[in-house]
Amino acid sequence: MLPFAADQSGTGGFEPPSIADFFPAPVLFQGTWLEFNRIMLVRLIAALVLVTFMVVVARRARLVPGRTQAAVEMILDFVRVNVVNEILGSERGRRYAAMLTTVFFGILAFNLTGAIPGLNIAGTSLIGLPVLLAVWAYVTYLSAGVKAQGFGGFVKSSLFPPGVPWFMYILLTPIELLQVLVIRPATLAIRLMANMVSGHLMLALCFAATQYFVVEAAPGLKVFGALTLVASLALTAFEVFVAALQAYIFVVLTAVYISLSVEAEH
């Protein structure tokens, strides 16, 4: 990649993606807490499209589903069966099904924008949204724990896992405290963000390299353009997969954290 970097002078040339992609120039309200830029727009579009689509499908929902409704129901079923029922159980999970489903659909929509031409960046690749989602999960599993076991019971079962010799608590309790209060939400947010950032960098790299090879590189190098084009197609497919996978991982972990909080023993 270094030799290409040398070309980065004058007009055009190879433009590798950089972290700057995630900090586009503000479009509106620069410098205020309402500063609006490209990524915010992408998020807004994703949210509006998702909500419009889902509301329309829900409005038209019939007993005998059409194709679109069946597809949406398949995803809903996937969350309800493979996440909620499997991890929390159908009885206990009912209270959290709405939250987990909403989070899954939201993350999926924001992740997919990274693979959609024209949008080209995942709404979740900027840390604010993953942090908010993690906070939502955090509040949910903490309140679930307190609701299920009472504050004292929740603290006791979380920080002092039963079946361990007392002196181990000296080691375990700080770790558990850190785990419950910091590590879990932080990893939720950072995992999601980092996956989307790396996905964007890989895709953008392939697109930029293809453009460079085909348009500007020496004739002998143009053949590499085909390679990077194929790679960018494959990576796009891979990004779609990762988008779904990360949405799934986020809700599965949230469900697991809720389950850990609700159960007295784990």
Partner: protein, 197 residues
């Protein structure tokens, strides 16, 4: 818009490359807009989308359960009807067998009766015939006897009338007749004894 933003991004990248750690530190506006889009998604999901799908799913589950129950009851009904039908069939078969048996018995009875009656009739006819024959024979015997007597008398009158024209011959004939009679009686006794029975 997108190209403008991209151009701006390029400019930004050229002027100041952001530090990698910035990726982990959210800006206030990032949080604010994230909150906005999350609310945009979460509220309609909570109010319209999820309840609507839940309602449809519940309705469908209910319908399916109702359908299954209906199918089950229909099956039970069919089984009951089949049982009844088989029962009727068995009854009908038994009835038919009984009727056939009755008919056979009755037929045998009728044949036996007819045979008896025929035999009686035949015997009656035979007896009547015999009696008639007997009666006719009797009549014939009576008639024959009277005819023979008359014929004999006529013949005797003819013979006697002709020859009894004169007294002498009459008395002679009578004499001879009486003699014959006596002789006949004597002979008749002898032959009667000889021929006997």
């Amino acid at each position: 818009m997108s190209t403008a933003a991209l151009a701006a991004a390029v400019v930004t990248a050229a002027t100041q490359e952001p530090d990698g750690v910035n990726l982990l530190i959210p800006h206030t506006f990032d949080i604010v807009w994230s909150l906005v889009v999350l609310i945009i998604i979460a509220v309609p999901f909570r109010i319209w989308v999820l309840p609507a799908f839940q309602r449809v799913l519940d309705e469908r589950a209910e319908k399916i359960e109702g359908g299954l129950a209906k199918a089950e009851s229909a099956q039970e009904e069919a089984a009951a009807v089949l049982g009844q039908y088989q029962q009727h069939l068995a009854d009908a078969r038994a009835e038919a067998a009984r009727i056939r048996e009755d008919a056979r018995t009755e037929g045998a009875q009728i044949v036996a009766d007819l045979r008896t009656k025929a035999q009686e009739e035949a015997a009656r006819i035979l007896e009547t015939a015999q009696r008639q024959v007997e009666a006719e024979r009797q009549q014939a015997v009576v008639a024959l006897r009277s005819d023979v007597g008359a014929l004999a008398t006529q013949l005797a009158e003819k013979i006697v009338g002709e020859s009894l024209a004169d007294e002498v011959r009459r008395s002679r004939v009578v004499e001879r007749f009486l003699d014959d009679l006596e002789a006949d009686q004597a002979a008749g006794v002898a032959t009667g004894q000889g021929k006997g029975a």
